[in-house]
């Protein structure tokens, strides 16, 4: 027993990722944790999207299942799992069966290299960012396969549209990424890195997030990536692959039940994946905000309180709404449930005030908070922007974003060269 505790505590104080330490068991634990966290995030995203969209459109959104519809995603999941699994008679069985698996695998595999903190990643690869882009580009294959195997018009057109879109926006995305990677090479040795942890450490060493580097070059590169990543995940306003009015549901029209929910899962985890690329490359990954302006021990103390305060704030919202629940006996279960949820959140918040815990998980908190900001942006886009037409989309990708990306890349390289050779010889 003592040895087990010692083993666990020896890991909890380790300063390496499980992959770098070569520890298979902890790597497995991390994979399970990431998978669990991702599933919870997708469930939460599902509820938040419906709720926020509803409030943007002056509706209430889901209200019936649980207090404020909190249990709605669980009800949805049960409904999807119990649905009949239909495969069109003329469909190509094997390809139809493989397609959702490929999409889900591609969406989840990329999280192997996502750095939630200097030690909180499954592993750190030398080719980290290349691996992420490569594996997430494999999901196009799944979409094309799904559209073709369904043997029906809407899915085929949806798949063609979505793959054309993903292939063409990948180019602009790659150029933006390259200009950020170029910035990592501004150190004494003059060599950059592709590893996700290395990129964040480069931002830490240079004391500047890459979004503010060589203003406005970093900002423009970030903007290109932010547009391309929405197109890459087929979300509004670039969601014409699944434009309901023209193509019913695009490439997954013929899918139902569990297979459809796999596509759903993959879409949301791909959104989280590209957001975490953006956070890692431009927004300083796990680093807390304002490391330069507000540095020193009092500010470190104040920022280390943030995770706990956030959870206490959520708990307070729960209690406030539990108090506002109708006082009818029929609502008693919901009121108690909401208050219980608030208690759980409050306990998590209190646990985060313990200095040892907060020092260990603070980086995870900042990373997730930044990613959550991007998730909110996705919902916001969907609530506000009208959908593009396909030729507008292609024009935007090839005639606006691509030249912009090339220009930013060349300018970044030029400014970096000047800085290395003339300003600091």
């Amino acid at each position: 027993m003592h040895e087990i505790i010692q083993y666990i505590s020896s890991y909890l104080t380790s300063d390496k990722t499980p992959g770098a330490a070569g520890n298979m068991f902890w790597a497995l634990v991390y994979i399970m944790l990431v998978f669990l966290g991702l599933s919870v995030a997708v469930i939460a995203m599902n509820w938040l999207e419906r709720k926020i969209l509803a409030h943007m459109q002056v509706r209430l959104g889901p209200m019936r299942v649980g207090p404020h519809g909190l249990l709605q995603p669980i009800a949805d999941a049960i409904k999807l799992l119990l649905k009949e699994d239909i495969m069109p008679a003329e469909a190509d069985g094997f390809v139809f069966w493989m397609a959702p698996l490929i999409v889900v695998l591609a969406a989840f595999t990329v999280f192997v290299v996502v750095p939630f903190g200097p030690t909180h990643a499954v592993t750190d690869m030398n080719i980290g960012i290349l691996f992420m882009l490569g594996v997430s580009s494999l999901s196009v294959l799944g979409i094309v396969m799904a559209g073709w195997a369904s043997n029906s018009h809407y899915p085929l057109i949806g798949a063609l549209r979505s793959s054309a879109q993903m292939v063409s926006y990948e180019v602009a995305m790659g150029l933006a990424v390259v200009s950020a990677i170029l910035m990592t090479s501004l150190n004494a040795e003059g060599t950059g890195t592709l590893s996700m942890i290395g990129i964040v450490q480069a931002q830490q060493a240079q004391g500047e997030w890459f979004i503010f580097k060589f203003f406005p070059l970093g900002l423009i590169a970030f903007f290109i990536f932010a547009v391309a990543m929405v197109a890459e995940t087929n979300r509004a306003p670039f969601d014409l692959a699944e434009a309901e009015s023209e193509l019913t549901a695009g490439f997954h029209t013929e899918y139902s039940g569990f297979r459809w929910s796999l596509f759903f899962l993959a879409e949301y985890s791909a959104m989280i994946a590209v957001s975490s690329i953006a956070v890692t490359l431009w927004l300083g990954g796990w680093l807390r905000p304002f490391p330069n302006w507000l540095h020193g021990s009092p500010w470190d103390q104040i920022f280390s309180l943030f995770p706990g305060v956030t959870f206490l704030f959520f708990a307070a919202i729960c209690f406030y709404n539990a108090a506002r629940m109708p006082k009818h006996p029929l609502f008693r279960v919901q009121t108690v449930g909401l208050a219980g949820f608030g208690v759980v959140l409050g306990l998590i918040g209190l646990a985060l005030f313990v200095p040892a815990v907060s020092a260990r998980v603070q980086d995870i908190f900042w990373f997730s908070a930044k990613v959550a900001g991007f998730m909110y942006l996705y919902i916001w886009y969907r609530g506000t922007f009208p959908r593009y037409r396909f030729d507008q989309l292609m024009k935007m990708g090839w005639k606006v974003l691509l030249p912009m990306g090339l220009g930013v890349l060349i300018l970044t390289a030029g400014v970096a060269l000047l800085q290395q050779n003339i300003w600091h010889p």
Binding site: D92, N126, I127, L130, F131, W148, S163, V167
Partner: protein, 153 residues
Amino acid sequence: MLIGGIAVITRKNPVHSALALIVTLLAQASLYLMLYAPFVAGVQIILYAGGIMVLFLFVIMLVSIERSMKERQFNSQWVVGIIAATALGGLFIAVYFKGKNVFPEGVPAMLEGDNTQRVASLLYGQYMFAFEIASLLLLVAIIGAVVMAKKRI
């Protein structure tokens, strides 16, 4: 990889062939990984599996599949093919058994840690000229494709 390769040439449906080719390319990427060349493996996945094969599938899907399914699979060069395959296989086997002196065994000196940096310094240092010529070749190919595709420029 072998299974994928055989499936590429035996499947009647061109889409299945293309999918088998993807499996082959991914297996090749994993071979690169085992040779401690993660950068080459990553580029293999991005370019071949992610980029080129999607375009392949694109074109195949636009072509009518029913018609090509009915066509008889033909191969008038099977004699030459078999001879070439046997020669290559024989060469591989000979190298495997007798090649100890030609290709010395041993762990490669290049480490996984800075593979990408080494590739970059080789490409842009020692082999700069060859690299630029290759890019020029690609540029010529792009211009040629545009000229052929567009009637009026």
